[in-house]
Symmetry: C2
Subunit: 152 residues, 2 copies
DNA sequence: CTCCTAGTTGAAACTCAGATGCAACTAGTA
DNA sequence: TACTAGTTGCATCTGAGTTTCAACTAGGAG
C-alpha cells in the first residue's frame, strides 16, 4: 500500500527532515509523543512518555528537542496562565491559531478559534508594521460549569 | 490645597487600603515602585528599586506583595514571550487591556490597544460562556525597524 | 494613649524548571 | 567503511519563586 501520504506516523518528523535536521532515535521518540498527545503536555510529562518508549532518553534531550521544535515553529509553547507552577506546555503548531481559556477554579483548558482573532492579528501586522511570528492569547476566568456551580 | 483627588502618589495604595488590607512601610515602597515604573519591571528589578528607597526590604516581601496585587487584579503579570529567561514582568492593570508585541531581534516591547481585541473578548464571554478575569495577548515577531534593518 | 492580635516580615533553606560544559557517541555523507 | 559535524547523557549549575517559622507591627478595641 504505497500511499502518497502516510501522514499519521510523523508529520513533525517529515517537517524536521525537510529542514535538513538530523533524525535521531531520541528525536523520533519525542516527536511521536508530541504528535500523538491528546492534551497539553509539559516537558516532564513528555519525558515520562518518551521514557516508556525509550528508557535511555534524558531530560536534557527533551528540553533541547522542544527548543528545536519551537525555534522551527513546529510546536507552540504555552503558559496556560501559570495555573500550576511555571512550567510550559507544548502543542503542535496548528494551521489556525486558537485561544486558550483556563478556568481558575477547575483548571480546565478550553480552546477557541475566532475570526476576530485572525482579523486582530491582521490589524497588528498592518497598523504596527509588526511581522508576527508567534502569537499567544491566553485568558483566565471561570468556565460555564464553574460559573453555575455552588461556590467551593 | 486639599484637592479632592491627589491621585499621583498612590492610586494603588488607595485601592489596596479600600480593600481593607494593611498598609506597611514595605508595601508602600513596592507600590510606589510599581506605580512610577516607566517600563515593565521584573521582580528582581522591583526589588532593586525598592531597595534604594528602603534597603531593609527583602526579596520575599516583593514576591508576596506582587502576588497580593495580582490576586486583587491591581497588577498584571506578563511573560513578554520569555525573551530573556522565565521571569515575569509586572504593570499596573490598565483601564483598557492592551496587546504586547515583543521583537525577537531587538527585544523592544510595544503596546497596542484595539477595538477588535475588546470585541474578541466579548465574543469569548458570550459564545463560550466564559467569564474572563484576566487576559493576555502576547505576540512575538519583528518590529518595523528590525524588518527593514540589514540582517545581523 | 496603651494594649492586643491577626496579619506581615526577614532570614535561611528549599523546590523545581530549565541551561551548560564536556566527553562519548552517531546520522548522514564522502 | 571511515569521517565529522551535530547530538546525546551525565554531572553540575542557575535562578526564579516558595516555604517555614520566629520576631515584628498596623490598626482597631478598650
Amino acid at each position: 500500500m504505497p500511499l502518497p501520504e502516510t501522514e499519521i506516523p510523523g508529520r513533525l518528523q517529515a517537517e524536521l527532515m525537510a529542514r535538513g535536521l538530523r533524525m535521531t532515535r531520541q528525536r523520533r521518540t519525542i516527536l511521536s509523543v508530541v504528535e500523538t498527545a491528546k492534551q497539553h503536555l509539559d516537558a516532564t510529562q513528555i519525558l515520562r512518555k518518551a521514557h516508556k518508549i525509550d528508557p535511555g532518553i534524558d531530560r536534557v534531550t527533551v528540553y533541547r528537542t522542544l527548543n528545536l521544535l519551537k525555534r522551527h515553529g513546529l510546536v507552540d509553547e504555552l503558559d496556560l496562565m501559570h495555573l500550576e507552577g511555571e512550567k510550559h506546555y507544548y502543542e503542535r503548531h496548528p494551521q489556525r491559531d486558537h485561544i486558550h481559556m483556563a478556568c481558575l477554579r477547575c483548571g480546565k483548558i478550553t480552546e477557541f478559534e475566532s475570526d476576530l482573532f485572525d482579523r486582530l492579528k491582521g490589524q497588528i501586522q498592518r497598523e504596527c508594521q509588526f511581522h508576527i511570528v508567534v502569537s499567544r492569547l491566553e485568558v483566565g476566568g471561570y468556565c460555564s460549569q464553574c460559573r453555575s456551580a455552588t461556590p467551593a
